[in-house]
């Protein structure tokens, strides 16, 4: 498409450039590279090389970090935020800025385990060796609205 006479011309108004196709190709290739990296990183157990207990968090961290970088690239290049006005940049950031605010809910679930009150939050971190015996798998689940309130949790067997 470089043969188009307009391809190198900068549009004056609003600061919107018309970019070379190569920019889009490079961006897409980078993203594809990161995609392969994510899959590859998931095959390798980084964490347990470092810590036997909580090592898998390293893998999680890597996966999320790669996703963040990919997002960053998409937002900057495909969504043209790199060339946007400061107002556009502000609003592009706003949502991503507020995600941490939303995630502050985590503090509650983190702190609960340090309470004098019995806690809910725990990592279940076990070796699953034998199949679990299923006493009552939810066959008898009561649909909302079908039956009200009584015996949601089965009574004792005695």
């Amino acid at each position: 498409m470089a043969k188009s006479p307009l391809s190198a011309v900068h549009d004056d108004h609003g600061g919107h450039h018309i970019h070379n196709n190569s920019m889009y190709v490079k961006t897409a290739l980078t993203l594809a590279g990161f995609m392969i990296l994510t899959i590859a990183a998931a095959q390798i157990d980084f964490g347990h090389m470092i810590s036997k207990q909580y090592g898998y968090w390293i893998n999680n961290l890597i996966a999320v970090l790669i996703a963040v970088v990919k997002t960053y690239i998409v937002v900057l290049y495909f969504m043209h935020v790199k060339w946007a006005s400061s107002l556009g940049k502000l609003f592009a950031l706003l949502g991503f800025f507020f995600i941490p605010v939303l995630f502050s809910v985590w503090t509650d679930f983190y702190f609960r385990q340090h309470e004098p009150v019995a806690h809910w939050y725990n990592n279940d971190y076990v070796e699953s060796a034998t199949p679990r015996i299923i006493g009552a798998t939810d066959g008898a689940k009561i649909a909302p609205g079908e039956e009200n309130t009584q015996n949601r949790i089965p009574k004792s067997v005695w």
Binding site: K52, Q53, E115, P116, V117, A118, H119, W120, N122, N123, D124, Y125, V126, E127, S128, A129, T130, R132, I133, I134, G135, A136, T149, Q150, R152, I153, P154, K155, S156, V157, W158
Partner: protein, 378 residues
């Protein structure tokens, strides 16, 4: 006009250790609010009339911005707010940290009643008998929706959440009868999910436990738990000693540190035990395999509380050979003679729930709340 209509108290009775400080805090904030509220509103009214259009007030050199003044407007409420915050937080931390030797009472909330179980096994619905001047820790759970256990006279309230124990504590200071409410909307008969809290002298409380126990059932929570323990055959795997390879002994388990296979450590508290019964695959003690089935769907919350109480009571004793005497004086003696009770009907507790089944009814106020309240008059 019948002025008797207004012959009512303007504040709730103060009957717990928290009440005094709570009320002091409350009235301190009332003072602040009155001061600022009256001051500001008076100023609004004064300005409105003094500077009314056409009045002869002095209007020279009006002020539109005054950074110094606004600085004070920011500073003063901030300081007052912070002072209140520190005070209330101190009170709150007290409220959230039960003393170690508090007497533990179990409460299960369900639509629409409160089950209360005293440590010696005496149970009651929608009433709570407590001895005066004794630290009481309430361990609560809900069997269905979220409720809130609220005793206005004690200034304490906490929600009961399904799937998780919550706790609160207080020390009653005044003998008397007080309201007990459910304060989290929980369905049709929410307003009648409650009854009363009866604070008795220690002596009366011991007597009440005796009488009540004879009428209802004479098993402690731990004893009921023991009975269940034997009936299910927990001891088949969790023997008196670590001889059987399938499960660790539960003797002296409570309060110790448990290590799971991956090297993580847990304190064996109530929650740990509950979780181990409900989801046994999650924290398998080091050296043991995953063999225990889950009792998630088979036990009611009351059952689990009993089991927990049993395992807890064996913290310093051998299991499962002896029944455990409750710690309350006056009960111990009877326990020895009441051993035959071990064979009595263990469904007692569940039959309690049966007659409390909420049914649709007209406007007549006669649900479990009132009925049991009347029955438990001192």
């Amino acid at each position: 006009m019948n002025w008797n209509l207004f012959n009512y108290p303007m504040n709730p009775p103060s009957a717990s250790n928290f009440a005094a400080e709570h009320d002091a805090l409350f009235y301190a904030i009332v003072g602040q609010a009155l001061f600022f509220g009256l001051l500001t509103f008076a100023l609004i009214i004064i300005f409105a009339f003094k500077y009314k259009k056409g009045s002869k007030a002095d209007r020279s050199s009006p002020v539109y911005e005054n950074a110094r003044m606004e600085f004070w407007w920011v500073l003063v409420p901030t300081i007052l707010g912070l002072a209140t915050f520190f005070w209330s937080t101190k009170l709150f931390v007290d409220m959230r940290t039960p003393p170690k030797d508090a007497k533990e009472i179990f409460v299960v909330g369900k639509q629409w009643m409160w089950h209360v179980q005293h440590p010696n096994g005496v149970r009651e619905n929608n009433t709570l008998h407590v001895p005066v001047d004794t630290d009481i820790k309430i361990t609560m759970i809900s069997q269905d929706v979220i409720h809130a256990f609220y005793i206005p006279a004690f200034r304490v309230q906490f929600m009961t959440v399904p799937g998780r124990y919550t706790q609160m504590w207080f020390r009653p200071t005044q003998v008397g009868k007080y309201h007990l409410f459910c304060n989290m909307y929980c369905g049709t008969q929410h307003s009648e999910m409650g009854g009363s809290v009866i604070v008795m002298s220690k002596r009366d409380y011991a007597d009440w436990l005796m009488q009540h126990g004879q009428v209802r059932e004479n098993l402690t929570a731990a004893q009921t738990g023991e009975k269940m323990f034997n009936k299910i055959g927990c001891g088949n795997c969790h023997g008196a000693q670590d001889l059987i390879p399938r499960g660790p002994t539960l003797r002296g388990l409570f309060g110790t540190t448990r290590e799971t296979g991956d090297g993580r450590k847990w304190i064996a508290d109530e929650s740990y035990i509950r979780e181990s019964i409900m989801r046994p695959t999650e924290k398998v003690t080091k050296g043991y395999g995953v063999t225990m089935p889950s009792y998630d769907k088979t036990f009611s919350e009351e059952d689990i509380m009993n089991l927990v109480a049993y395992i807890k009571s064996g913290a310093n004793q051998s299991l499962p050979t002896s029944s455990i005497a409750a710690s309350i004086p006056g009960i111990q003696a009877r326990d020895a003679s009441g051993k035959a009770g071990l064979n009595s009907n263990a469904m007692q507790f569940n039959s309690d729930t049966a007659d409390a089944t909420p049914t649709r009814r007209g406007n007549a106020p006669a649900v479990g709340a009132m009925a049991s309240e009347k029955g438990d008059q001192q």
